[in-house]
Symmetry: C2
Subunit: 397 residues, 2 copies
Amino acid sequence: MISEKMAKMASGGSVIRAIFEEGKRLSAIYGKENVFDFSIGNPSFPPPGSVKDAIIDIITNEDPMYVHGYPANSGYPEVRRAIADSLNRRFGTAYTEGNIMMTVGAAGGLSCTMVTLLNPGDEVICITPYFFEYNNYVTTPGGKVVTVPASAENGFMPDVDAIAAAVTPKTKAVILNSPNNPTGVIYPADLLRKYSDMLLEKGREYGTVIYTISDEPYRELAYDGAEVPWMPGCVANCIVCYSWSKSLSLPGERIGYVVVPSDIADGQLIFDAEVVANRMLGFVNAPSLMELVVARCVDEPTNIAGYDANRKLLYDGLTALGFEGAYPAGAFYLWIKTTIEESAFVEKAKSYNLLLVPGSNFGTPGYVRLAYCVSPDMIERSMTAFARLAADCGLGK
Amino acid sequence: MISEKMAKMASGGSVIRAIFEEGKRLSAIYGKENVFDFSIGNPSFPPPGSVKDAIIDIITNEDPMYVHGYPANSGYPEVRRAIADSLNRRFGTAYTEGNIMMTVGAAGGLSCTMVTLLNPGDEVICITPYFFEYNNYVTTPGGKVVTVPASAENGFMPDVDAIAAAVTPKTKAVILNSPNNPTGVIYPADLLRKYSDMLLEKGREYGTVIYTISDEPYRELAYDGAEVPWMPGCVANCIVCYSWSKSLSLPGERIGYVVVPSDIADGQLIFDAEVVANRMLGFVNAPSLMELVVARCVDEPTNIAGYDANRKLLYDGLTALGFEGAYPAGAFYLWIKTTIEESAFVEKAKSYNLLLVPGSNFGTPGYVRLAYCVSPDMIERSMTAFARLAADCGLGK
């Protein structure tokens, strides 16, 4: 009787969330210290002290009607100005509050952006492996995901020719995600420029505009001083969806923003429609206290060193055991080959209380994703279990 | 090039929000004290001190990873239990955390509920006058709003026979809102029981289930000790969408919940689908800190006395000038007849810096809505302007 689409989805659910719940179940049986949950991207470091200080200062000293009342649907202008100013300092841009809409996390921004852009039947290209929630944001307004593989041989970089071959007159957008979940790859500026030229050329050919949606929750998470190019600086018609979930460890608070640069096609119309979408989908506005908090923490550095140590520990441990995967340049995921059939690998891992997310959940079977936003202790304790898994898979010496 | 639906909506925008912005513009010209903005339901009293105390205590004493990390998509189980317990104490129900999903305000709850229930082409009955945002939540999954007028002669109570006449085999739900925005009416229990029997009868006739969605942001705002019946206690197959926006003056924080009682048709499936919808639409979860805050303030009384004083002041002032409208039993809106053609009335009012929302924005032309969640001072200062408006409309002696 209820929505047929939702009845199907309710029985399916989120694979990552299901593993996360399985982890809690196993912990209750075997003890938390004997379960190795690498499933979910829940930051493992607390927010910086400046977040706590900002909350207490705002709650103590600001007018509560201002703090908790309705901001504009697009967010407090002064918050949006603080964000624009920070981006301008970092990336040499010239944004104003008119380019920034506050959102309920990057998920809220992506959802609003898809509703803003897509007519039913429009196509959105995603580069596999990719975060499967994109499917939901695309299908809400009746859009269709078209996948283009990024191959292991190519270091999981987007293949510009393959994307070009997938573009049709119905292609409305491409979603890019760099630093990438799940591969940890960072897309370099020259590749992005080549990609942008290709899309402009395709647009001329078809008389269309093909937007790029840059999903950037991991923007600050780049290791060894790697540069993450400012996407709208390399790519034409680019809309950015950002979140503080990872950079400030605030995933529960649902706070992020969308950047709609003025020089993209129909920029003002898109911005206005994003604000309507924010209201229409039921977000109304991003949470008000958190808007004020992030405005004060906009230049706060991310705890990269902590994740970097985990990256080394997990990568070195697993490659010593014979597992194969690229050393991630950003984000906090390790993407490794399963060596045996994926579901058998994942089940074997689970029998050792190792919780990994199957690659088919990112559109790329034969891999698993390990989130290393966990305690270094857990990584160390997990190595005995990984050694058993490696032995079962015929790895190692 | 962008979504045709959104391009149209972006040029339209929200009438209430546009008036709200107009108020800011006029304030800049004439001075804040000379503009009388009755447009938006932004609570005029600060949150109770317990909200501030809860925030500071949680931020100071709880683990920040718990406070700001991902809760379950449905919310913290302990928060949902606190809400269930409070409802059980007040309404003699037997809810558990399995009946409560935390939402991004009532808007988020309504949006998830519509996506959960509706197949494209399904019909949802709304009782005019009604909050126009319902149109958005219904059309996102492809549903269609069917309106049934509540007449002035009938004191703006729902007309059960008229609703019955509007039910078709495609009717999936009816949205009720009591205490009502914009009329201030509270629906009595006997009317609700008669309405419920009618829907059950219609469902048997068509072999369908017709759900009632109770939108309850004003539940605590009832004057003179008026009882607001617990809707699922009177109405079969009822889902409740609640928000603390009004009761705790937290509209900016986007915090509310959905109640899916276990005994409604497909109750468990609906609950599971609501949780998926919360993720799918991009909410992911209700803001985590605010979940913990409301759990501590769940039995906090609402500042009814303050709004009651405003209600008397505005109602007495306007009726003395000859305006016609019912004395509201709940919520914080006064619904009065325009006496002359609606848009002329609204424009004349604006020429005296009186900002009122036209009734046609609620599907019922010939009325205006005045939100009296304003300062008593503003109401007093506005009376000269209302007197001029009354004179222009040929009212008074």
